[in-house]
């Protein structure tokens, strides 16, 4: 009986060239430097990718789906962490890819950028973030980000 179930399973799925991927992915490694802030200020930590730089309305872009963010919180108190962002609307140019930290209880206000793609720390206001043109479905695009909690980059938030 078990074998019959397995046989039925085996008849399903598999690779199919007629169902080509419609999405692309951004992947990369976030490397952390410097002393981590207290745990109670690390309410959330995610990679967020914006189409505009500087973002006009950070919260609005996230809520409207124009900004993409990782589905899970990045691991804390580690040297590095890998991430993936799935992109369904192609082509798209992402001009501002950051690691964002929620440091306080207010989900809409208590955020700060702690790392920017293309601006390794210490980054000043002159630094221009790298853009990523995501065009080809089925392809992975790479964006590594460095974070130094002791040298935070310029903030886009009010």
């Amino acid at each position: 009986m078990l074998l019959l179930v397995l046989l039925l399973l085996a008849g399903c799925g598999g690779l199919d060239p007629t169902v080509l991927p419609t999405e692309a992915y951004i992947t990369g490694t976030v490397r952390f430097r410097g002393a981590w802030p207290p745990e109670d200020s690390l309410r959330d930590l995610r990679v967020v990718a914006f189409q505009n730089y500087p973002p006009q309305d950070v919260v609005g872009e996230v809520l409207s789906g124009k900004a993409l963010f990782t589905q899970e919180r990045l691991p804390l108190f580690v040297d590095s962490a890998s991430y993936q962002l799935r992109i369904e609307q192609l082509p798209v140019t992402l001009r501002y890819i950051v690691v964002a930290q929620q440091y306080g209880p207010d989900l809409f206000r208590h955020w700060r950028v702690v790392g920017i793609y293309g601006c390794p720390p210490p980054a000043d206001t002159a630094c221009q973030p790298d853009s990523l043109q995501v065009q080809e479905a089925g392809r992975w695009y790479r964006a590594d980000i460095e974070v130094d909690f002791e040298h935070l980059p310029p903030q886009p938030f009010p």
Binding site: L3, L7, G13, L15, R142
Partner: protein, 737 residues
């Protein structure tokens, strides 16, 4: 003149044999205790000597010229419990014995040699060992080692890499973390430390033992994840010949984009074995042609193998192994895209790759007394490959490498319950290659091990090995690898085992010095590479339980490995690949195996019984450096196998499962090397086979086998950009005398 010399040698051998004292004679009849039918193929040996034999079709074995003394007689056979008895023999005695072997759950190989570098029962081994009998496997038209390894629980194959319980990923065929042996002789290439799957003489093999876990305390470098030991057959006095002819067709893929027209494969094998007095010969020949289901991926290969054993005297034997394999295949690396998955994407695919693998090895086994023995083992394994393109200048990648090995091992039964082993081992890799340069790598080692049985039913094994590695252009280093093993035969039934060991793998010449540009990839050297290291521990239990009145062998193991400085290919500046010590990893898991049968019969191979084997492995392979799953590992591995005897044959079904690989090298995609590199799915492969016994149908010792591999035509990849074989139809005729 040369013929005369040979005749003189043979005459001397015959004279030496004739001059030996007559000794005792032992005549055995081996039969099944349940059915009283004679058993053919049982292994009989006198411990402490090189004397032994294989039972004939009528179950008889005759050992002659046995010096007077006290011996332990051991009789073993797959599917039966080991039989042992102490005998005292006088010169001139003729002793007749009836040996009745008790059946045990199907498929279990009773004697293994890899866990302690000596023959021991599977229950004595403190580590997990999967021992696979080759005869049933060869019914499946397999011709390469990797095809067999995929059917072993806890083992996966990622193109050229064998991974035991998740220890290896995919590193372009370089740096195996599993040691490969042929009758104890190392068989990894001297340049890239790679397994050449087509170099193994499967037709001459009796079984494959897969030791799971760190084993450098006995075997040194490369035994980080385990050891695979291919054991060849022992010829009997009765001449034994066997042949195998098979042919097959690849099914037409469902998707028009992948169709290339009808393609197929065929192969032929021949083997012969016989013992003539003190001389035993085992030989085999193989030829395989595969048109492949992919463009520019066809191959033609052949192989010859011979093993010659000379029992110089009852305590002395010399064995010589000779092997040569030749392979010509297309330079397929990865697909053009998922839409064109059967067409190559690498621009140098019109090239062809020719490779040669040759082994010359010898083993001198000497029993100095019933308590002291030594084995001197030496081998030279030559591998060569050449990429070539008709009409192109001879500047394409090529390499010639020699892997030399010499080992002197001693065993001393110091006390009745204390067995000491020690040895020295040297390995030399000599490489001359356009892509690696001229390189020499030397490893020298000494090891010792004590097997302590004073506290029976508790058995303890402790040992350690010290290796020193030297290579031109790289730092010299020492590696000390200790080992502890405990087995406990509990009073309430189960047999428990515990193993803890350290292992290492020295970087290969290729990992340190590869410098090439091929298939769009640029590879740069890194002479600063350090050795990979790791600790592994395992706790296991084995027992025979009764399910529906039938005995089932159940084995469960919990394992943990901590690995340091793992060498992985990474993409660096200018998208160049370089091998680096980048990964700190931890692999934890559980493995469950159950073997038995259901049905009304007392015996597993009677009509109406269903023989079953189930294996499940759950892995948690973590890359601690990246806080993620290790690349190219699946979390779940499973195998379910069933065989139904039908009187005139058997019906076989096998299902193999691997959950989806969670991570690959994203750079294959991010840097645009392989289109749709990320297209991967779980693996579900079903194989169906129907064998017909010629003896039952037409009175001939032949077997016809009809098989369907990947019966549900399930499309999957094992490594990026490589579509695995679609459905195949196979017809095989085999036989023996």
């Amino acid at each position: 003149m040369r013929q005369l010399r040979w005749l003189a040698v043979l005459a001397t051998v015959a004279m030496l044999w004739a001059q030996q004292p007559p000794g005792a004679v032992l005549q055995l009849v081996v039969r099944d205790a349940a059915t009283t039918q004679p058993l053919s193929g049982a292994t009989v040996r006198l411990q402490g000597t090189v004397l032994g034999g294989i039972s004939r079709r009528d179950g008889t074995v005759r050992l002659e010229r046995i010096p007077a003394g006290e011996y332990t007689l051991v009789v073993s056979m797959v599917g039966y419990r080991v039989w042992q008895r102490t005998l005292r023999l006088q010169a001139g005695d003729t002793v007749r014995l009836l040996v009745e072997l008790e059946p045990q759950p199907v498929g279990l190989v009773p004697i293994v040699v890899t866990a302690a570098k000596r023959a021991q029962t599977l229950q004595e081994a403190p580590v997990s060992i999967s021992a696979v009998e080759l005869a049933p496997v060869l019914e499946r038209s397999y011709s390469k080692l990797d095809e067999v390894l995929r059917t072993i629980p806890g083992v996966t194959v990622n193109r050229d890499h064998v991974s035991i319980r998740g220890t290896s990923g995919f590193a372009l065929g370089v740096g195996s973390r599993t040691l490969l042996l042929l009758d104890g002789i190392p068989l990894l290439s001297g340049d890239s430390g790679e397994m050449k799957f087509d170099a193994l003489p499967l037709m001459a093999a009796e079984r494959i033992e897969v030791l799971k876990g760190a084993a450098s305390a006995l075997y040194g470098t490369a035994a980080l994840g385990g050891v695979i030991n291919v054991i060849t057959r022992e010829p009997s006095e009765q001449p034994q010949g066997a042949f195998r002819l098979y042919g097959g067709l690849y099914g037409t893929p469902r998707f028009e984009q992948w169709q290339l027209g009808q393609r197929g494969f065929w192969g032929a094998d021949l083997s012969y074995a016989q013992r003539l007095g003190p001389i035993a010969l085992l030989s085999s020949a193989t030829v395989v042609r595969d048109e492949s289901y992919r463009l520019d991926d066809d191959s033609f290969r052949w192989q010859l193998f011979a093993k010659l054993t000379w029992r110089v005297s009852p305590p002395t034997a010399l064995t010589v192994l000779l092997q040569h394999a030749d392979d010509d295949h297309g330079n397929w690396l990865y697909w053009r895209s998922l839409q064109e998955a059967t067409r190559p994407g690498n621009e140098d695919s019109p090239q062809r790759v020719r490779s040669w693998k040759s082994l010359l090895a010898a083993e001198w086994r000497q029993f100095w007394s019933s308590r002291l023995s030594s084995t001197l083992r030496a081998g030279a394994y030559r591998t060569e490959f050449r990429n070539r393109l008709p009409g192109a200048p001879d500047t394409l990648p090529s390499s010639v490498a020699y892997s030399l090995s010499a080992e002197w091992q001693w065993g001393w039964q110091w006390q009745p319950n204390i067995l000491l082993s020690a040895g020295i081992h040297g390995i030399g890799n000599v490489v001359e290659a356009s892509i690696y340069g001229e390189r020499r790598q030397w490893l020298l080692a000494a090891y010792a091990q004590a097997e302590l049985g004073m506290l029976r039913p508790l058995g303890v094994t402790v040992g350690a090995r010290l290796d020193r590695e030297r290579m031109q252009g790289a730092a010299e280093h020492f590696e000390l690898n200790p080992r502890l093993g405990i087995v406990y035969a509990s009073w309430f039934g189960p047999q428990f085992r515990f193993a803890l060991g350290r292992a290492f793998r020295a970087p290969t010449v290729a990992e340190r010095f590869a410098q090439l540009r091929t298939a769009g990839f640029v590879v740069r050297p890194n002479p600063q590479l350090k050795a990979e290291r790791g600790w592994s521990a395992e706790l296991g239990a084995a027992d025979t339980v009764r399910l529906a009145g039938k005995p089932w062998a159940v084995d469960v193991a919990v394992f943990h490995s901590d690995l340091f400085d793992l060498i992985e290919p990474g993409f660096g500046e200018g998208a160049a690949i370089q091998f680096r010590n980048v990964t700190r990893a931890r692999i934890q898991g559980v493995e469950l195996n159950a073997t038995g049968w259901v049905g009304p019969s007392l015996r597993a191979n009677q009509p109406g019984t269903l023989r079953c084997e189930l294996a499940l492995t759950l892995l948690n392979p973590r890359d601690l450096s990246a806080n993620s799953m290790l690349k190219y590992r699946s979390r779940w591995l499973g195998i379910a196998r069933a065989a139904l005897p039908l009187g005139f044959g058997e019906f076989h079904l096998e299902y193999r499962y691997q959950s989806r690989v969670e991570r690959i090298d994203e750079e294959f995609s991010t840097l645009g090397f392989i289109r749709h590199a990320d297209q991967r799915v779980p693996i579900h492969v079903v194989e169906l086979r129907w064998t017909l016994e010629g003896m039952a149908l037409v009175g001939l010792p032949v077997q016809l086998s009809l098989g369907m591999r990947n019966a549900f035509d399930y499309y999957y990849t094992e490594v990026p950009g490589n579509l695995a074989p679609p459905r195949q139809f196979v017809l095989q005729l085999s036989g023996g005398w």
